[in-house]
Symmetry: C3
Subunit: 323 residues, 3 copies
Amino acid sequence: MGLQQGGESASVATRPISARVVAEVLRGVAQVDFMPSVVCGLFFVAALFAADWRYGLYGLLGSAVSTAVAYGLGLDRETVGAGLHGYNGCLVALSCAVFLGAGHPATVAVAALGSAVAVVVTVGLGALLATWRLPALTAPFCLVATAVTAAAPGFRRLWQGAGAPAALPVPAAGPTGLSWDQLWHGFFANIGQIFFMPQWYVGLLFLAGLFAASRLAGLMACAGSATGLLTAWVFGAPGEAVGQGLLGYSGVLVALALCGVFLAPDAWSAAYALVGAAGATVLTPALGAASAPFGGHAFTWPFVLTTLLFLAAVPAVPRLRRT
Amino acid sequence: MGLQQGGESASVATRPISARVVAEVLRGVAQVDFMPSVVCGLFFVAALFAADWRYGLYGLLGSAVSTAVAYGLGLDRETVGAGLHGYNGCLVALSCAVFLGAGHPATVAVAALGSAVAVVVTVGLGALLATWRLPALTAPFCLVATAVTAAAPGFRRLWQGAGAPAALPVPAAGPTGLSWDQLWHGFFANIGQIFFMPQWYVGLLFLAGLFAASRLAGLMACAGSATGLLTAWVFGAPGEAVGQGLLGYSGVLVALALCGVFLAPDAWSAAYALVGAAGATVLTPALGAASAPFGGHAFTWPFVLTTLLFLAAVPAVPRLRRT
Amino acid sequence: MGLQQGGESASVATRPISARVVAEVLRGVAQVDFMPSVVCGLFFVAALFAADWRYGLYGLLGSAVSTAVAYGLGLDRETVGAGLHGYNGCLVALSCAVFLGAGHPATVAVAALGSAVAVVVTVGLGALLATWRLPALTAPFCLVATAVTAAAPGFRRLWQGAGAPAALPVPAAGPTGLSWDQLWHGFFANIGQIFFMPQWYVGLLFLAGLFAASRLAGLMACAGSATGLLTAWVFGAPGEAVGQGLLGYSGVLVALALCGVFLAPDAWSAAYALVGAAGATVLTPALGAASAPFGGHAFTWPFVLTTLLFLAAVPAVPRLRRT
């Protein structure tokens, strides 16, 4: 989401156009976790196909539509090439498939429209946040996906009984002690839930992709996931939800963003990142509750809000510095 | 909302004060649709009276109170003269009449207080958005009207059984195929609902006012309304709501704003405007659902949010340029 | 929240460190009402202990944790010394005690984490708002407290039956005429509810602290409270809620902020402040309704939103000037 493609780009220009576009679409998928890496994108797409082949297709569709719209609008080529216009579309399309049902034609239509609009939202939000040198992160995805899921019940072709209906949030129930299985499932599921996938082996594939792109990113994802588990356990989140990664996915992204991606990695930024990850873990059920009454979801809003505020504070904190 | 009054203003200064103030109040009504035109304002006021004489009075009251407060605060005369401080007050007062009942004394009081506060909100929001050269659009109205409708049930003199109570949103029901009557009623009602009026003939009067002020504005209003109808039909909105203009009114405003008012009119901006209108049409039930649990309404929030993001993106899009 | 400590600071540097830190923590409590005054802080802490000794401890804990974190991050010493990093933590910790129950260990833990995160949020929001020379006010507290109260039911150790569950807002019931007792109780309770305290004698102690720090501040608090009572009565708020200060506490803060603290005190700013106080009084049940469906509270959001917009408007209003 913020890294330029760096060394990889030099060689790209000489490849045939079709190969270059494929690389950009894959980088778009990888940029969901900030990685401008084709190899990482291949791992991520494999993870989506491992969960469900239709999710793999939707993820590619979203990244491809967004990248195409970015070309059509004549946006900055380097940004497009780094995959920075693909990741929001990828997540928008995936969220449509997961929450509206992958098999309906109207889901494909709204996924394509949403991925196209996400490009405009990315550029617009990016211009607003540029005032403070802040990145848009996944805010464009969160905005579009929140709009689509809240709107869907109002459209009969979009709403075919899939997804949870609007309801008041209820206090958590069920045991809070974590079983060994919930613990290690949750550790990987925290990484997979960034793409809405609760299976531990899917999360493991995403983690492998992260390590393939950057050892530091892999380590911070692990640290963020562990912080999420610890925070959820301390305050008594239900073990079943923890085991599905529903509490910790934003913490993983916060840890990645605040130590290595946007802040220079050192002990201070690592501590800062883990405090942020703990905060995002508490924020996740809060935003789940806030969106429940209109049928929305927390998505990665906890990550976006936490990271934006923590990054905005950096210039006043002498111990931290931007990359 | 953004156009200065241009040629009309030169002659205004020499008229008697009372005539000048009347012209400014009428321009305030016309600026709801971005038109700094007295003739257009006359059409709009006629449309309101055609719906209900009390709505006509409330609309004039709101524009008049706001304009008076703007004078009292000593705000920039040219902006006041163009009607740019009247339109939010006009809509605030109308929304009080429509949602709280026009006949109660407390409704008049809150309409006047709201129209006064709307001026401060307009100036304050305008200062914030000026950082990115963005207009406040109808955001001041949306903020004040959302606050008043959400607050009203907490005040026994404001809440006399009018309006819908707070409720969880429910999935749409009823047939989605559009009858011929629903289609052409909806086409005009989309324009009338900008002022909360569902009658087709009221919408027709508003459209006549737009054409009287600017042929391009009339055409874009038609295109935006048609896009709203098409989008609503594609995704399966209930025909009855479509026929009352409840899905398409924000699309009309988006189309006006993005092709002619804030962006130079050409094929690119027309396409951009219609994608925005489609997006705003999907956003409308989303914001309706989001505000239903606290008794709020979508108002023109879908227009405001869509247009602000689409305008913010413009500097990065080489195909588009601001007027 | 915005006043630097002024004359008091000169002598502070020569005191022993422990006395200096105690002074800073007390100033942190006083800054909830904008007063950089140790004496005022002593009054405020006494008021909290008069309500419940545990509330006194939580208030001190929050201010102390925030001040310590501000030192740890190496933030600007003068700002820390004025208590400008303590007041949000003080309110965060108090809100945890009031809404989650003061006696649970998990409440202490979340109060400490929340007070720490509030420092980062204060710096981050401050950096964003600095673009327009706007202060963060109590927005950091409101953000953290809204997150914690919305999240709490999702964590079984945080949610032990205290606080009201999520529910749809219902229209107000009960008589609206104010009895004499409700009137004068409400007058003081409006000041006490800034710290969540409904007892009239607690509010009286807070008012005494204000007068001890600044006669103008004491007078504006009285004017704001009276405006809140009047507005609530005009629109028909239930007398019982008015008597507990639930309608007017934001108006008190608005009146303080807009006449004396951020705007130079004169007749114009006094009128501006009282219009703002009336607006915040209407906004209070609106934000209560908006947060009820997810188990949130209005907190001082009405004050924050009103004051930010009213302050943002000031540069365009020739009659008003910033301090």
